[in-house]
Subunit: 648 residues, 2 copies
């Protein structure tokens, strides 16, 4: 019964339901009270946001929470009492669920007007709890904290030392009109610290040195030495530390998963062997009867092509071993079985010689090249028209020729698809992922083109489809046309260095889930905190500034002059974009300054800690992931050796 529950729980359906629930509860933040359903986040232009009625999101939420309760109880049953109490993650899960449910009850009893929703902050925990990779990454991060702290200490010493130097250097300046270095950047201790902290991220690089440097060249040395030591050296040291902690991590997890898979295969083989062994095989001939294997294969969930190919291989192997039709054990038998991945179904066979030659013609890869060539022509035509149209005002443009050309290209793609289907058969056509992509694109393009023609009629001179919403239907068609570019990505694996790069990309995508998940968690937590702290802090400038922006009076480079009004924390989507902009680091001193003015000096702590978490730690973690993946692909020899070692 427990095994049955285990199998049900780890079945695709259950796990997908759980994932869906997690993403559903996370995405509630977009709809909840500071809802993100307005067209723009700009405080000057935005309309009053839609308020969800009390009980709508809450009912969805309680359903999600009930799913989690069920999940937790199944997990607890599977783990058993003793293991459950030892597992901190499960205990945390329980705690978070209890707090969430209590909080939910409180907010329902207050009719959704409670000031603070604790459970919103706790939601990312569900995501974290559900992924073992994320937990591993977090553990890895925790291990590297001491080293990071030591470099952080060095950075802090460096910062403080240079702040003191800077204040000493610029405090003694004469106080005439030119003494702007002291007045702007080194006015007092917090200002000087902030200036140099921002310089550490190079976000105010030439500006901070300009007033002093204009007076005397020698001042530049101070700033250059600071940047060299801090930004180039200490920051990169931090990267090195994170990478060195992280280096073994991927290999280890790969080893573990490979080891488990091999163990599973071996165990399955042993089971098969023991069931066939009682049939009275000779004790020397260790192996599995092909018939048993075939029976098993019928029950396994596999792609039908692959299953077919495997069965064929097994059948062909059957008479080969001398010892009475037993498949040899170990890897020798497995390798021919599992090396049959690139199997495509056979082409349809036509009788007529004309059809056969046509099949040869359109099935040949030169035909692919022709298609690529036409796609290139398509892109070039779009680009040429874009460049030509750039100087013309949007109202005066004439899309007649381009419309005709587009029709022709789409007809060609349709023709190509049909011919390929004819040559390879429908199943054969679909067994190439590139063809699936082409076919999908062609279909979508066809539908779009049809609707364009239906809405705007056939192209005629002076033909200019109207805008509708963000993009006209016609522009959408052009945009999709450009996706044809991805056809060229097929050429990449044929070039050696490109192939390594491409396989790095693919390997990355597999590992990205854990990293992306951590990023989502961090963004979510900081966005919710930010909304609670800074919601409504940024207020629109007085006057109806929607037509003529009245930013003439604001100093250059300030939040108001740069019109960063949309970067606020008034709803979840806007908070995410604001956090992204701070994470990219460029111009983040503007945010520091603006929120200091609007909200108070303590807002700096929020932004600096976000910078540390996202830009310093996460970006370095990502770099470490890329390095690890690339080196793994590039130099597999050094990684395969320990892998081989685990096998013995």
């Amino acid at each position: 019964r427990s095994l049955w529950l285990y199998r049900r729980y780890y079945s695709n359906l259950c796990q997908r339901t759980l994932s869906f629930t997690i993403y559903l509860i996370l995405s509630l933040a977009f709809i909840e009270t500071p809802s993100s359903l307005s067209r723009t986040a700009d405080v000057r232009y935005r309309s009053p946001p839609w308020e969800p009625p009390c009980g709508l999101t809450e009912s969805v939420e309680v359903l999600c929470l009930l799913v989690f309760v069920a999940d937790l109880s199944v997990k607890g049953y599977l783990f058993g009492q003793a293991n459950f109490q030892k597992n901190l993650w499960l205990l945390g899960y329980l705690g978070v669920l209890v707090v969430s449910l209590i909080d939910w009850t409180v907010s329902m009893s207050l009719l959704c007007r409670e000031p603070l929703r604790v459970r919103r902050l706790l939601r990312p925990f569900f995501l974290l709890q559900n992924s073992s990779m994320m937990k591993k990454t977090l553990k890895c991060l925790r291990w590297s904290l001491p080293q990071m702290a030591s470099v952080g200490l060095l950075l802090a010493i460096h910062l403080c030392l240079f702040t003191m130097f800077g204040m000493l250097l610029f405090a003694g300046e004469k106080d005439d009109g030119q003494n702007r270095e002291r007045m702007t950047y080194f006015r007092n201790l917090p200002d000087a610290l902030t200036s140099l902290l921002v310089l550490l991220t190079t976000a105010n690089n030439p500006d901070v040195m300009i007033p002093a440097y204009s007076r005397n060249r020698a001042y530049a040395i101070f700033f250059i030495v600071f940047t060299l030591i801090g930004s180039l050296f200490l920051m990169n040291l931090l990267t090195a530390i994170i990478y060195s902690q992280f280096r073994g991590y991927l290999m280890q997890s790969l080893q573990t998963s490979l080891f488990r898979r091999r163990l599973g295969t071996r165990a399955a083989y042993e089971v098969l062997y023991s069931t066939s062994g009682d049939g009275g095989a000779s004790p020397r001939g260790v192996g599995v009867k092909p018939q048993n294997l075939l029976d098993v294969l019928q029950k396994v969930q596999l792609n039908s092509f692959h299953k077919q190919a495997l069965i064929e291989v097994a059948a062909s192997l059957a008479p080969a071993p001398a010892c009475s039709g037993l498949l040899p054990g170990g890897r020798v038998g497995q390798q021919p079985l599992f090396r049959t991945k690139d199997v495509h179904p056979p082409r349809p066979e036509y009788q007529s010689p004309f059809l056969q030659s046509a099949q040869f013609l359109f099935g040949h890869y030169y035909f692919d090249y022709l298609g690529n060539f036409v796609a290139l022509g398509n892109i070039v035509s779009i680009c040429v028209f874009l460049v030509l149209d750039a100087d013309v005002l949007p109202g005066d443009r004439d899309d007649f020729i381009l419309g005709i050309l587009n029709c022709i290209f789409i007809l060609y793609y349709l023709l190509e698809m049909l011919l390929k289907v004819f040559a390879l058969g429908l199943q054969g056509y679909l067994s190439y992922p590139s063809n699936v992509f082409d076919g999908l694109l062609t279909t979508v393009l066809l539908v779009l083109e049809m609707s364009t023609l239906a809405v705007y009629r056939f192209p005629h001179p002076g033909w200019r489809p109207q805008m509708q919403g963000l993009l006209s239907l016609w522009d959408m068609a052009r945009l999709l046309n450009m996706l044809i570019v991805f056809r060229f990505l097929r050429i990449i694996p044929n070039m050696k260095p490109m192939a390594v790069v491409a396989s790095t990309v693919l390997g990355l995508v597999q590992n990205m889930r854990a990293f992306g998940g951590i990023l989502v968690v961090v963004y979510y937590v900081f966005a919710i905190i930010g909304i609670n702290l800074f919601r409504g802090v940024i207020v629109a400038p007085p006057g109806n500034s929607s037509l003529a922006p009245a930013n003439g009076s604001a100093p250059c480079g300030s939040f108001e002059q740069l019109e960063y009004w949309a970067n606020n924390f008034d709803d979840f989507a806007a908070a995410l974009i604001t956090l992204w902009n701070v994470m990219v680091v460029n111009n983040w001193q503007v945010f520091l300054d603006a929120y200091q003015r609007y909200s108070g000096p303590w807002s700096k702590i929020y932004f600096v800690s976000w910078w540390l978490v996202s830009s310093v730690i996460w970006v370095n973690l990502f770099l470490a992931l890329i390095l690890e993946n690339f080196l793994h692909k590039w130099d597999p020899q050094s990684h395969l050796q320990p892998l081989a070692g685990t096998e013995e």
Copy 2:
């Protein structure tokens, strides 16, 4: 005779002369015609620069070139005809020298008024040619070019694709007052490309998305996806490629040098053995007579302490081996010999018990701690006064208390130094590098304090030393006081993670010469090209703007409004700073824009190529160096194994 020449050539004197000559000829650029000897590089304030008379720098230059000619001829003689013709570096050396001499003759015959000096561009070659590490690094770079080109291709495709997308997205906008995205960043193809290239470096991050994002949230996705793929992913892939190429490089060079040293030691041992062997030693007892070793030690260039210690060890080892006073060969004999590095001379011995206890007291390391504590107090006092003085105008400050305090601290440092000399003896005191630093600092502080007192009299209430030049003598004393901070760096090796970090730093410094050299070469070449291209292009704004900067009319964020006037290419020092500012990447779109307006659209090529060379390639190379050094220090096991392998 050839051997004698070889020894003379590779003697310290010759090599130092050569290095000095190289740096001399490189530093000529600061004095040559666009001379950097003005106080500021700002076009608004700077005085007309000093023009060196024709023949001054040229005569220095020809002397340097003659040294190089001598160097080349000696090298050619040592290499021999056949090797010389095969060595491309030497042939290039010859070519560069010939071109330089011809160019020099031309410029002398034109009385220094030639339009272009080719030889200035060629000068960094001398630096490159003289360092084998730099040549190796260059070779390593050349190897990784194919991979870098493939990622560069991906980047270019990415850039072009998104440019097209962007133009398609923003070209169709309605042309009312709000259509600023198209007008500012996506006006035409070159503008759109530049905007996205700059976004790739994140230098215009929030700005470029603001106009579109203010209109609709969804536009932000375009920019975020672009930055994610381009800046986070592809750029880091480039780092990974450079690192993977570079990974073996350091280890290899370390192995080679270690191998060579061991070979040398072994060969020396063999020579000693053969000279002693003919004395009739038993064929079984393989070894060297201690007497011979002592004779050799007398002639070797070594620190006298170390030599003394080695001789003692050799003498003590002499009776130990049974086989008639021969030192055993191989590593067994070498290790006790070479493990005597941390030897300090003995302390002086005093007769009186009072002096002895005083010696114990002041020689104890608790006394060091007391010194550190006092230094901490000194720093804290300076910081407190800085923070207190920050709000007071410079003219009204009263430095009376600080002056008194400083006197006391300096007296304490002097006392500490004298007591330590008394306890350890002068030689013992000097054998600790930290003491040397302290002593030097104390001496300089004493001299400065004396001169301060002589100039400004003793501190009295209202005492406020006058400014003289950049810093008053008194501020200089305070600045030096802060160098006391470096006393605390001594504590670092006692903490485990700090120790790794510190040893990484030290390992880096050893490898920095090659990297710094390459950076110098790159800066030099680009600065000279920049001077030739853009000299005098930036002109001062009209009107006497030295008092009231007339930048009210310039748009915010432009070169003129930000007052980047000092970032020009009018002399060598200014060009270096400008290149540094572009290398740091932040706000480099301002430079792109300004030089495009002042000099023409082709100037972009110069800046973009500088960005590629410095910020993309060199910074990544530096990161690779740090990674390699850190991993080497962190996980020495994996590196020591191949090292041990070479020995067998």
